[in-house]
Symmetry: C2
């Protein structure tokens, strides 16, 4: 990037902001979030924007803290992006003076966030500033920032302060997530901040190595402004037309609870990066980024905006991928916002896992390892609710214990509302083993199954066996449950729950009898868990006799006992409220009472378990439920896109695809400012790969029966299946799948 013109941009790989958008600062910050799976940071400006809605937040995956009387949450880390620039005595602040030119873009091919601004300060001096930033995909502790400044029509004093700012932590009045920091700023362009989470006692070290090497006569300054708590400041005389470069490499490092501070390692990492320099660090990052694309790219011969939107979803999701050895998972907002406290939901297993299993199998394994590692938390939840086995948390954090709030307070009225998800939204306990099964089928990694996965499959089956009740007819029911459709709480025999529970019980029984199950492994597990053949027979009996509200005549599935008897809500309202919060329009009471659902439930279920249903049944349920769905969850539109594509309802599928693919890019849910929607990103991939490309993974090699949108001529995607890399090439006449 030069200070003159902007680089030619590749519209198929670039999210571009062409002017300062004062009204939507946090929206753009979310869109421009960057992550490497461990470290994530929002795309906020480097210079302070105090008082605006800007939220400069950096998070580390899995680094939770739990305040007294609170739930675990991912606290924001000290902010190391902050940069105070004073140009000829005028502080650089776009709210003042005049913006002569402005551009910001996320170069997804290279994983680079760039900004180029020409600014005239209130005193009339014009300056060109460019900013580049990456969260290294090669070195997961490193965040790198380059700032370049060119005085266009002036010479005079230039002051640049780069620092680490403690206090980005949004815990509000609830106490601090961090212990008071220990700071060190050396005169050699190195600064360190050491702290520790207040309750979970995890150490954090942030080291910044600062360089402004190309310049002569630099005077490193010591006194930092109150924008920074540690850092480096430079003050010198700048000359008209010269370009001044300021690089920084930040290393964030943590460790287990009560471990020693990793300050030394962080300093070494930052210094090493700084020594090797911007170009070398960037090159390593670019190589890793190219590899990322090679694993997952989808090329669309169709509208360029569809191509870009699909890539945006892939890029943002893929850069959240954990690495082997990291016991972490991905929350609904990824690392781009504070919502849900960074907790892990079913979104990961049902919406994201297939993408990772078929493009980043090691990452998929890491995600499932997180569930295996938190199995004890699920056991504790089951025990405390008088169940057996493992009842997974609706919201899970570091320990796997339930982290779902039990209620929320309406701040305007002071009223308290109960949240029941953590009590009865139990399908998560089947979703986890379902994802394990998917992973094993897609990767062929049976070792994972025997080593870790089987225990989860058995323990969740045991949970279901204790969760069901036997009714007077001798059939089994799941009473007082809650499906993905959270409008209807305390329902009996919820379709999603019962079908997935049945799947779980059958899968556990089949696994027990599986020919490849290493005998000693099974024996050890049986002894450890206290399982025997009677348990397995019980699972089969329950599975065979579990109440399923399937109507053989119509093929319709009643979403739960009595759903079909609920009053119909006006189709006028449903039409109008399909893209907004229906409960705010017609009232929560009416939504709970009526035949309106929050999000895909039966439609999703039949897509997941498609081999259990006839096409006619799937068709009938889609036609019945689709008009009654308010899409009040961001998980709903992609499920409809995927389902419609597999039913050859291509126009509807494409329409829902666009709602999913542009959900964040066009802020269709109205809350992208709070963070991106990672579950939906997985849903976009599912729609394209399983829907439009029509991937069929039942054989030993992948096949595809595509059904492309009318304005897509061609679709080409890279996947990895059972250890081999394939390219799937889809056109109007069908598909070819070739190993590469």
């Amino acid at each position: 990037m030069t200070t003159a013109d902007l680089p030619a941009r590749d519209d198929r790989y670039t999210i571009f902001q062409s002017e300062m958008d004062w009204l939507r600062i946090p929206f753009w910050e979310s869109l421009f979030s960057q992550s490497n799976g461990l470290l994530g940071t929002r795309g906020s400006f480097e210079e302070p924007m105090v008082g605006t809605r800007s939220r400069s937040l950096t998070f580390m995956a899995g680094l939770y803290n739990t305040l007294p009387d609170g739930l675990p949450e991912l606290p924001a880390l000290p902010d190391a992006l902050t940069t105070r620039i004073v140009l000829c005595e005028q502080p650089f602040d776009l709210r003042r003076g005049h913006i002569r030119s402005f551009a910001r873009w996320l170069d997804m091919k290279r994983g680079l966030l760039c900004r180029a601004v020409t600014w005239r300060d209130p005193a009339g001096h014009t300056t060109r500033l460019t900013f580049e930033r990456f969260v290294s995909l090669a070195d997961r502790s490193i965040l790198a920032v380059r700032v370049r400044i060119t005085p266009v029509d002036w010479s005079g004093p230039l002051e640049v302060e780069m620092g680490i700012r403690h206090g980005g932590d949004p815990a509000g009045g609830k106490g601090s997530h961090w212990e008071p920091p220990k700071l060190k700023s050396s005169a050699h362009g190195l600064a360190t901040l050491e702290t520790r989470t207040s309750q979970t006692r995890r150490p954090l070290a942030v080291a910044g190595a600062y360089a402004a090497a190309e310049q002569q006569n630099l005077i490193p300054g010591d006194a930092l402004s109150d924008h920074c708590t540690a850092g480096q400041s430079y003050i010198f005389d700048a000359s008209q037309g010269a370009m001044y470069t300021f690089d920084r490499f930040i290393a964030y490092m943590t460790g287990p609870p009560d471990a020693e501070s990793p300050a030394k390692q962080a300093r070494q990492a930052a210094l090493a990066a700084s020594k090797s320099g911007w170009n070398e660090q960037l090159d390593d990052h670019l190589v890793a980024c190219a590899e990322l694309w090679d694993r997952m790219d989808i090329e669309i011969d169709g509208p360029v905006e569809d191509q870009r939107a699909v890539r945006f979803n892939l890029f943002q999701l893929a850069t959240l991928c954990p690495q082997p050895g990291e016991i972490v998972s991905i929350g609904p907002k990824g690392l781009s916002g504070t919502h849900y406290g960074g907790h892990i939901f079913w979104d990961t297993e049902i919406y994201m896992l297939p993408f990772f299993a078929l493009t980043h199998p090691e990452g998929a394994k890491a995600l499932l390892t997180y569930r295996c590692a938190t199995l004890d938390g699920a056991r504790r939840k089951a025990r405390s609710n008088n169940y057996r086995g493992a009842q997974y948390a609706w919201e899970s954090a570091d320990t796997g214990d339930e982290a779902c709030p039990t209620g929320w307070t309406d701040l305007a009225t002071g009223e308290r509302h109960r949240i029941w998800c953590g009590d009865i939204q139990d399908h998560i306990s089947a979703d986890v083993p379902f994802a394990i099964d998917q992973y094993v089928r897609m990767t062929g990694d049976e070792d994972f199954l025997w080593e870790q996965g089987a225990e989860v499959v058995f323990e969740t089956a045991r949970f279901w066996a204790s969760r069901v009740t036997r009714n007077a007819d001798g059939r089994f029911e799941i009473r007082d449950a809650m499906g993905p459709d959270e409008f209807h709480i305390h329902v009996d025999n919820d379709a999603f729950t019962n079908y997935m529970a049945r799947w779980n019980l059958q899968a556990a029984a089949n696994l027990w009898d599986h020919a490849s199950f290493p005998k000693n492994k099974r024996k050890d597990l049986a002894a450890q868990l206290g399982l025997d053949a009677d348990d397995v027979a019980g699972w089969r009996e329950i599975a065979e006799n579990l109440v399923l509200l399937y109507d053989e005549q119509t093929g319709l599935i009643n979403q739960h006992m009595g759903f079909f008897d609920r009053p119909e809500v006006s189709p006028d309202i449903l039409r109008i409220t399909r893209s907004t919060a229906i409960t705010e329009i017609i009232g929560a009471g009416m939504a709970i009472e009526g035949q309106v659902i929050k999000q895909a439930e039966v439609v999703l279920l039949q897509t997941l378990l498609d081999d259990q249903f006839t096409r006619e049944s799937r068709e009938a349920n889609f036609k019945y439920y689709e008009p009654r769905t308010s899409h009040d969850s961001s998980l709903s539109v992609s499920a409809h896109a995927w389902a419609a594509a597999t039913l050859d309802r291509i126009e509807e599928a494409y329409s829902y695809f666009r709602r999913a693919a542009y959900l964040d890019l066009n802020d269709l849910a109205g809350n992208t400012a709070d963070g991106l929607h990672a579950g939906n990103m997985g849903g976009v991939w599912l729609t394209v790969a399983m829907g439009f490309a029509g991937l069929n993974l039942k054989g030993d090699t992948p096949a595809a029966v595509p059904a492309l949108p009318n304005n897509w001529k061609h679709l080409r995607m890279n996947i990895t299946f059972r250890g081999r890399k394939y390219v799937v090439d889809c056109g109007a006449d069908g598909a070819t799948v070739e190993e590469r």
Copy 2:
């Protein structure tokens, strides 16, 4: 109105809603508010809309209550509109079934709110329903509602319950504004609810007289559903094609604190209205409504939407007019919402008063009488702040004591923020006597001045004399003040404050010496207030030596000490944020620090006191301040429209006029859902009358020098000046003013 087609509508007098607008229910409710100045109610549906954002609220002007630890506020009265309709066992609820046709309109010529709906219930029956409603301008205690029901394709049971619902009171968790009600529902179609405000002890009686006389075989029902606490219910067999009419007349009556319940009078009023019947009651209302229009109408030969918008503003403002004997005033939301607790601000004196003085002089007198009657409250405020005379409350309620909150809590963060308006926004104490002077000039009602007004003028002058401080040069300053531009707090020598204070001091001194001042009146006042010639000389001295930051060279007025030295805010931001809350975009800190103002201040000041300034100075200040104004208050756009029109900047004037005239109609401030903007309505009238028509009221008869928008050919307006009625006729060639 028949059950067949809708009546032909007059677009120049009708606000029309052509379809159900689920997303903006409260917006339409505000727009369709109706009032007669004493009683006001929002345009919510008659049938219950529980759980939606609908807010069915009825208020009575001046009926305040003060909860412990709270401030006075206008509590919502028991809701007497509520109507439960069950059609062939299906409850009438537009959220269910299907809307076949829908129309709702406010007929401003007749003061009628109408709704016509054809609805198919979930069981398939189609019914036509029409609703008509007026708040009587002839009998100020009466609210009348007519419901007509025609089964289109069914015969069967029809149930209608009309009632009074206690509990519309939005005090939230802060306690109840009302004592537990005493209820009475007779079998003869009469129901009463009696209650009393919990602290101010004011009695309230609501009586409903219900009639369904045209029908045979009516069976009055006794058991009311839980939608009503008192009322009448009818259950009978309805026949296909027949139209069933249900009328109700509600009387709301109150009395002084601790007075007996006015239940008997309310019952008599409701019964009398019911006996005379719908047609007669409506006729009386229509006559009063026609008289209202005759006093104030403005006819525009131009775009029909401008005509309608101007009439909307006139109609909504005029129907808030108090009557002689009522010691009440008009708050910023009129009677259409709970915001500001129904408190009275400077909006009334500066923005609304001229409209009333020139169209409803008796109402203008009532508004000012409220200020005279609450003078003791202003005296108490002055005393408690160690000043003399009368310091008017920034927010005033029943007693005139300060009712401005001293802070607000950010519900999201729990942070407390101080509000300083009640402490230092003192220009209100000059605005009140300024309005008295305007009223006297416009009406010639000097009696009011001698009887009531003079005391206010003197007492506020005394306040200013104690408020100023003498600086080292011997000049007087007003330190630590706050002008209409509330972004800048604790400023010295605020332009609006100092100029208005000077006006007040001069006006008081001149009044003292006024030749027409009845000698004995002055003597009595002097004795009562302890005033003498030294006081008056002091007022003159201060007025002559008060610091005014007027630059003789440029004609610019510095808005306060140091304003011109504040940093400029980027014009890009100012341009973008001109119609939104700038503090949310750039942060409150930047707004406070920079040269950006919340609303018209110097621009308004120079329009109000136009004879004190040269046209060049007014021009210079308009050019300086207009681009720096964020219009973060709804009072700002009309002030700019008015100012621009008087400066012959017609295009700008028209552009600002449209922002003012359509502020509520098009929800330009985004908060019409919370209530209408009464101050802005007065500002629209000022723009048209004083701006475009160019009224000149300096002589004994009115004159006009019009400057019409380019697309207005003609403007014709009715006013009353010094007891005589005039029609002002403006065209491109000038104006004629004729007595009528």
